[in-house]
Subunit: 300 residues, 2 copies
DNA sequence: GTTCATCATAAGAACAGGTTATTGCTGTCA
DNA sequence: TGACAGCAATAACCTGTTCTTATGATGAAC
């Protein structure tokens, strides 16, 4: 036994409307016998007579009338599917779940969200802030759509685009302001305060100092850059800070900022997403918006 | 360009549910390639990607999710169509529009409706009371489904079944109670009060008296049997009354009832409907119910 | 590197659904 | 009343869709 078909319902609707096989068939752009057969088929499927064929007129039966009401709704719903597809084809709509690491989030997120809301109104933006490794896991699991992290990630299943590069600066107690800037070797001798395990920024800082991450260190790891700066201000040591964080984190704390001499430490921030994600093009545009948001226009 | 298909939506729903082409295909009892092709087809129709094909998992896109919700509703609505058909297959449901002539309605309608309500609960009964000719017109126009009239109607497009036969009795002023019952010839000499033009009962009475309807008569026609009896009670003449009306109409009026000698006048009441009406079987059952309602069981 | 899992593609087979031609019925009109 | 006209059902045939099985491609796991 075959199943109901949209065609049958559309033909049925036409016949209910025209009450005439020939005209209904014409309205459906098919021949009259084709319509007859399909209506008959539909009646057999439903095991009910839908039309009363009089000598000179075709009339809906009581059941046919009841059916016509529902069929109309169904067909309209189907039409709406196509409308829905057409509407969401052009612009990205619906939900965008974006992940971002903690050493970026506080400084870039406001600008990103502001700009995305402007360029993609109606987009439902969800933000997840956690460590790179977790973000990658959530990305591959499909729990988020994209993430802003430090590159490179080097996951073959993930697409990555660069957003910006930024230097790291040295943060030391305000009393050290005048002293010469240490080089990488000198830095190894100083008390370097770092984020706890898992933050990529920790690894980048260690890497700059030529210190292997596995090397045991005393338990002075902080859980945020804010804490790090506070610790420096308290004279507990020195630390590195990405440039974007400087303004926010040193605003109310007495510390001294110094740029390194070449080779300057730095990190590259980028956006990543599953390369299987069919919204790739949209995400690329999203990344452009984000880049625009965080790289202030040159005119200023 | 082809149109959307129910199959595609069902396949889509299955794949959205299983998130696995092979298992979804099995659930649909088709091969995996068939499912792949249909999903691809659906995506082309909607010009949107519905699933993100990862290496090890299939996942709905944002749009796919939005679609899945609507598709589910649509498919459930379609399933309900079949339920609806199945439910209305057995018993007559919905609306029954029944016509009945004025010389029957007051006497039989209460019993008919009572019995129909008992045997066909949930049936929405509409009643139309008017002359036979109008009923026939409305029947062929599809404005009513069946009618209770005096037979024969002799419309080839209408089905008719008998319900009962009943005699006509003579109604004359109470003062005439003892007088001999006139025969047809004597009746012609009396002042015979009749219903107005159009009532079949008028024609039947005239026919009994061998008077041609076209014959001019003074303007004493009444519009209801009640009025006729009142006129007889007032001494304006005599009239005929179908048996079923006797009890109701003479209850509070001083008139004398007399049966005719053979050949007694009578009429046959029947039910008629379009013979193209697919509910013919149901209507036959309805007629049985009606017959049962108006012919009191023999046991009493 | 090999194997496994999984989806896409290809080619042939089966079938649904279309067409035109024809039949059959009914009501209309001369 | 008999020929005709209108209309739906049926028949015969044809075509395009949509299955099936077989095979290819690709990424993940061992």
């Amino acid at each position: 036994m075959m199943n109901l078909t949209f065609k049958q319902l559309r033909y049925f609707e036409a016949l209910a409307h025209h009450a005439h096989f020939g005209r209904a068939a014409a309205a459906c752009s098919i021949s009259q016998p084709a319509l007859s057969v399909q209506i008959k088929e539909l009646e057999q499927q439903l095991n009910a007579i839908l039309f009363e064929r009089g000598a000179r007129q075709v009339r809906l039966t009581v059941f046919g009338e009841a059916l016509a009401l529902r069929v109309r709704d169904i067909l309209r719903s189907v039409d709406e599917l196509e409308d829905l597809a057409r509407a969401s084809r052009d612009r990205l709509v619906g939900r965008l779940r974006i992940g971002i690491i903690p050493t970026i989030a506080p400084y870039l997120l406001p600008a990103i969200i502001k700009e995305l809301s402007r360029t993609h109104p109606g987009l439902d933006i969800h933000v997840r802030e956690t460590l790179t490794q977790k973000l990658i896991q959530e990305l591959t699991d499909g729990r988020i759509d994209a993430a802003v992290v430090a590159l490179p990630v080097s996951e073959p299943s993930l697409n990555e685009v660069q957003l910006l590069s930024e230097k790291f600066v040295l943060v030391r107690p305000a009393t050290d302001a005048g002293k010469p800037v240490p080089d990488r070797a000198a830095l190894q001798e100083m008390k370097l305060l770092l984020l706890e395990e898992g933050h990529c920024f920790r690894d980048q800082a260690l890497s700059f100092c030529n210190i292997r991450s596995a090397q045991p260190r005393e338990g002075l790891d902080a859980s945020s850059l804010t804490t790090l700066v506070q610790m420096v201000g308290a004279g507990m040591g020195v630390t590195l800070l990405p440039e974007m964080a400087v303004e926010v984190e040193t605003r109310s704390t007495e510390v001294a900022i110094a740029s390194f001499k070449d080779p300057q430490p730095s990190r590259t921030i980028g956006m990543i997403w599953r390369n299987t994600n069919p919204l790739g093009r949209e995400l690329l545009r999203i990344s452009d918006v984000v880049r625009e948001a965080i790289n202030p226009p040159r005119s200023r």
